[in-house]
């Protein structure tokens, strides 16, 4: 069990660093192990350095930087231990135009290995859809789903 943990953690760290560098076009990301008095791993912390900046603790990051860092970490977990499908609800909400493109590229690449259901308001993310549904609500308070053609 402890071996499994170590194997998983180093896999996540490897992909986290890779996805982070790709999405931020530079910088570094790593996972630090925290040890207790018995030399056992009691916790892990995420450590990042954005391009052009110095290593900073997570609370200082901007809204968009936090989202992108969290997505790099999540997608690393998805890579190491795949699930049959993923559901992402407006995870691009805090991203600016340039970063939405990076996220949607990552989404496209990873979807050759996994199934994604993505809720979004963003046109760039929508471009990556193989299927697109529009949900509407009439005056009667009832949701209706419409399959939309991709242009």
């Amino acid at each position: 069990a402890k071996e499994e943990f170590e194997k998983t953690l180093s896999g996540v760290e490897k992909y986290f660093a890779e996805f982070f560098r790709k999405m931020f076009k530079g910088g570094e990301a790593s996972i630090e192990r925290i040890f207790d008095e018995y030399d056992e791993v009691s916790g892990i912390e995420i450590s990042v350095r954005l391009p052009g900046k110095r290593k900073q603790s997570l609370p200082l990051l901007s809204g968009g930087e936090k989202s992108l860092t969290a997505l790099a970490f999540l997608f690393a977990i998805f890579k190491v231990k795949p699930a049959p499908f993923y559901v992402l609800d407006e995870v691009d909400a805090a991203l600016d135009e340039e970063n939405v493109v990076k996220f949607s590229e990552l989404l496209s690449e990873e979807s050759s290995f996994a199934q994604f259901v993505v809720i979004t308001h963003n046109k760039e993310t929508m471009q990556r859809a193989d299927m697109l549904y529009g949900i509407t609500m009439q005056e009667d308070g009832i949701s209706k789903a419409v399959s939309l053609k991709l242009v």
């Binding site: 559901v87 609500m137 949701s143």
Partner: protein, 166 residues
């Protein structure tokens, strides 16, 4: 193995039966505020066995059933059915090319599960999900406003997440 279809009936704002056919790759869902997009996510979570009300954006289980609108009366039953493509037989215990798992709830009654239309106990459906690599992957569902939450977690909690994944 992939999720082919999500069918909602009576669940939150999906008063009329709604079928969503999913792409094996990327399916995007769009629409105005309050139209029902996140309700679909709640439906998928619930069908996978979620019981924590905070993860279903509800204050009681009855909130999951269409409670009526200005012009429509409430319903008394809600159902969400997940239809999986099982042609590669990833579900080891079910030998059908398609596997449908439906969760149903009636007002003031427990919810019940149905496998390919037949009643099945909660613990058995959880075993089936687990064998297919679902359910212990609740991190695979990211709710609205929660994407950065993983960063705020204490070091012990982050370690727990990796342990669950492992």
């Amino acid at each position: 193995m992939y999720l082919e279809k999500v069918t909602l009936y009576g669940f939150k704002t999906f008063r009329t039966e709604t079928e969503l056919l999913l792409s094996p790759k990327v399916t995007c869902i769009v629409g105005p505020n309050g139209s029902g997009k996140s309700n679909i996510v709640d439906g998928i979570r619930w069908a996978l066995g979620e019981h924590r009300l905070s993860f279903l954006r509800a204050s009681s289980m009855e909130d999951l059933i269409f409670s009526g609108s200005a012009f429509k009366k409430p319903l008394s039953v809600a159902s969400v059915k997940l239809t999986f493509n099982n042609e590669d037989r990833t579900f080891p215990v079910v030998n059908t090319p398609r596997v449908s798992i439906e969760r149903r709830i009636y007002r003031s009654r427990e919810s019940g599960y149905f496998l390919n239309g037949n009643p099945i106990r909660l613990q058995d459906v959880m075993k089936i999900f687990y064998s297919a690599g679902i359910f212990n992957h609740m991190y695979a569902i990211v709710s609205q406003g929660k994407v950065s939450e993983i960063l705020l977690a204490k070091p012990e909690q982050k370690k727990n997440l990796i342990e669950q994944v492992a």
